[in-house]
């Protein structure tokens, strides 16, 4: 399984990469993109939106289904990867480079899994 050690993960299959104490990039794990199949649409929040740990921040859609993306942290959206709006397939091609949003002023966070713990979690899901 493709898992960068510099990131932490959620049970809802998002990855989180902390850029500083209270700023992080959020994306979808390789496992998630593989389960969804080719993504054809991404719905993201706007810069300035407040997101809450455990609540949806947007969604991604494949031909077959729509899936919510849950925010792993509570904070304010400081950047949105707008390139994904026209090229959602980047998430399939390189899920750990294709970040969805950057959240700053993080005040709360979900329980995270380390790369190793996440790998075990995914194996159990299969």
């Amino acid at each position: 399984m493709n898992l960068p050690k510099s990131m932490v993960f959620t049970k809802s299959h998002e990855w989180v990469k902390f850029l500083s104490e209270d700023t992080a990039l959020i994306g979808l794990s390789d496992y998630a993109q593989d389960q969804m199949g080719s993504l054809v649409f991404v719905n993201l929040p706007m810069v300035g939106d407040e997101v809450i740990a455990g609540e949806p921040l947007g969604d991604v859609e494949s031909v077959k289904a729509v899936s919510d993306v849950y925010s792993p942290v509570t904070g304010t959206v400081s950047r949105v990867n707008e390139e994904l709006l026209d090229a959602p397939e980047s998430i399939n091609q390189d899920p750990y480079a294709a970040w969805l949003v950057e959240v700053s002023d993080i005040s709360d966070r979900d329980d995270f899994l380390s790369a190793t713990e996440y790998e075990e979690f995914c194996l159990k899901e299969e």
Binding site: G37, S38, V40, F41, N43, D59, E61, S62, V63, K64, V66
Partner: protein
């Protein structure tokens, strides 16, 4: 417990992502729905559609039975021809949509939806006229669909030219594909040129391998249910349980062409359809103008008024956009009409566009 088709092992070998569908375990995709879809539009794709039901209607009064049970007319059909028709209930709703293959004046093959097979067989058996018999042969047949512009060239490597049906909706009852006896028809559910092949279940794996090998040089891909659904939607083809069901009149879902109210014979559902009069609802194609994907069961609005509901919808890979089909109030069915679709609490603008979305 789901059943498997005779090709289950091939799907596993080919890396298919297996899901339950209509009581069968079938691949929803192999590698990628988008690639499989494009293969059919540009080259060729191979589908296992063995879950479809095959019912054999035979006997001296088989034609009369067809006329009584089905909405279309069949007098003018010749051997080797295929016709699309509907089984209607007495209220005029659709029990199923099916293809009728005329093998001879007293033998007809009915190809029905997997999920309706038992319902159909029971209904037909209840209404057989005179000397007519119905046999459910589904378990004896496998069905493969070879679809795409290269389908003919692929078949020509395996089948004598005179055994390949030339015209749309015609078939050869006993074609030899390699050394496998097949019923070979120029039919399909993708909107692309192609064929469907019915063979004995025991020969299915061999036929799959033959077609895969013959198709290799043309870029043929195995295709799953996912691509089958996007292809039929792009081609504006209705799917039972979406565009029609037991309660929907064919006149309200763009299937009036398959209902011959003026045929001489009475048929089940005719009286109800006559009494219903001019339909107030019709099926339309919608292109999503706003951002997002509109799937099935999304209510459609003009202002505060709900004017219809989508029946199928997704992102269409060849057209590279989101489209849907819907049943709407006829006053809002004109091309260019703008409606708002309610999708998970968001309103997305859609526009009525011509069906089919794609034509080969």
């Amino acid at each position: 417990m789901e059943k498997t088709t005779p090709l289950f092992q091939m799907h596993e070998q080919e890396g298919g992502k297996i899901v339950p569908f209509a009581g069968y375990l079938l691949p929803v995709q192999y590698k990628d729905i988008l690639e499989e879809h494009m293969a059919v539009r540009e080259r060729a794709g191979l589908f296992d559609v063995s879950h479809m039901g095959e019912l054999l209607l035979t006997g001296h009064d088989a034609l009369d039975t067809l006329h009584y049970l089905c909405s279309n007319r069949f007098h003018d059909m010749q051997d080797g021809r295929v016709r699309y028709t509907l089984l209607l209930n007495p209220q005029g709703g659709v029990i199923d949509d099916l293809l009728v293959y005329r093998l001879s004046a007293e033998r007809y093959l009915l190809v029905v939806n997997a999920s309706n097979r038992e319902k159909d067989a029971a209904w037909i058996k209840e209404h057989l006229l005179g000397n007519t018999q119905l046999e459910d042969c589904s378990d004896h047949f496998a069905q493969l669909a070879l679809q795409g512009p290269k389908a003919k060239e692929i078949l020509e490597k395996l089948v004598k030219a005179e055994e390949i049906p030339a015209k749309y909706y015609t078939f050869t009852e006993e074609a030899l594909v390699g050394d496998i006896p097949c019923l070979l028809s120029r039919t399909g559910y993708t909107g692309s040129f192609g064929y469907e092949l019915y063979c004995p279940s025991d020969d299915a794996k061999k036929l799959w391998k033959l077609l895969r090998e013959a198709g290799e040089e043309f870029g043929l891909l195995p295709c799953g249910l996912g691509a089958r659904d996007t292809l039929r939607l792009e081609a504006g083809m209705p799917l039972y349980g979406h565009e029609m069901d037991d309660e929907v009149s064919p006149m309200e879902t763009g299937l009036g062409f398959a209902v011959k109210l003026d045929k001489e014979e009475d048929f089940i559902g005719k009286k109800a359809l006559m009494e219903r009069g001019e339909p107030t609802v019709t099926r339309v194609g919608l292109k999503v103008v706003g951002r997002g994907i509109v799937r099935e069961e999304c209510p459609l609005f003009v202002g505060q008024e709900e004017v219809g509901k989508t029946t199928s919808g997704t992102f269409l890979p060849y057209l590279k956009g989101a489209y849907a089909m819907a049943r709407v109030n006829r006053s809002y069915a004109e091309l260019g009409t703008k409606l708002m679709a309610s999708v998970r609490g968001r309103m997305i603008e859609v526009e009525v566009v011509p069906l089919p979305f794609y034509q080969a």
